[in-house]
């Protein structure tokens, strides 16, 4: 339990660093560290497949894509973020946490408890047999992503 709270606190801390840091490279690295914490948390919650995906894809691949984009758009200096947003953030965040703790406690008690639907079987059975439609959707989304990136980076004719 203590480990989980530490990991969750690290996740929140690095997410805050990712949005408040002035340097975009530092923001991307903080985001990757937050993903790493989330992946370890998934392992702690008995979800190893989700943890592996989170660490390899989100912490690895997406960070590389962010770094590439930051390297290709060397224009960090031209956007001035307001200092007020950075200064106010701790106050607003503490206020939100207080409201969150107070409201969530009451709200979660009011929500009717769903029955435990624990099911025996392997992860593969659930993914391939129960969620087959999701897999088809995933394939469609990957293809859509590939074609949209190809369309965005296609070379233009001189006539256009």
């Amino acid at each position: 339990m203590i480990w989980q709270i530490l990991l969750l606190s690290g996740l929140i801390l690095f997410s805050i660093l990712a949005i408040l840091s002035k340097d975009l490279i530092k923001s991307a690295i903080s985001l990757a560290l937050a993903s790493l914490f989330l992946g370890i948390l998934f392992f702690q919650m008995n979800a190893p497949y989700a943890g592996v995906f989170e660490i390899s894809v989100v912490a690895g691949l997406i960070t590389v894509l962010f770094m590439l984009t930051i390297a290709l758009t060397k224009a960090e200096g031209d956007v001035r973020e307001s200092k007020l947003a950075r200064l106010i953030f701790p106050l607003v965040f503490v206020a939100f946490i207080l409201i969150d703790v107070l409201v969530m406690k009451g709200l979660l008690q009011k929500v009717p408890a769903l029955p435990d639907t624990s099911e025996p079987g392997a992860f593969g059975d659930v993914l391939w047999k129960q969620r087959t439609f999701d897999l088809v959707g995933q394939l469609a989304i990957i293809l859509a992503g590939v074609f949209s990136v190809l369309a965005l980076f296609r070379k233009r004719n001189k006539d256009e």
């Binding site: 990712a18 008995n46 979800a47 497949y49 956007v79 993914l127 965005l152």
Partner: protein, 94 residues
């Protein structure tokens, strides 16, 4: 669940206050972390981690596709406007 709500808040704050397009997208990523944490935490509490895992994996695949497309759009925006400032994207204003 309170931590997932905290992540959603951090991401929304970023979306509302920042002006750099890449920063805004980092905010969206933080929100997506909150959503995947909420999904898996619910599955963990209800002792149904297998289904929650498959949903989280689907979510991650969608997220990767979204990131690739959005970053390609950001690079194209930079090529057109020579800036990453969201306020300079006013050509689509009605």
């Amino acid at each position: 669940m309170a931590f997932a709500a905290g992540l959603l808040f951090v991401g929304l704050y970023c979306l509302l206050t920042m002006k750099n397009v890449i920063k805004l997208f980092i905010g969206i990523e933080v929100i997506s972390k909150g959503v995947s944490l909420a999904l898996l935490a619910t599955g963990f509490v209800k002792k149904n981690t297998l289904l929650a895992q498959s949903l989280v994996i689907t979510f991650i695949v969608v997220e990767v596709s979204l990131v690739a497309t959005a970053l390609a759009i950001i690079i194209n925006i930079y090529r057109h406007t020579k800036s990453l400032d969201i306020r300079k994207l006013t050509k689509l204003k009605g």
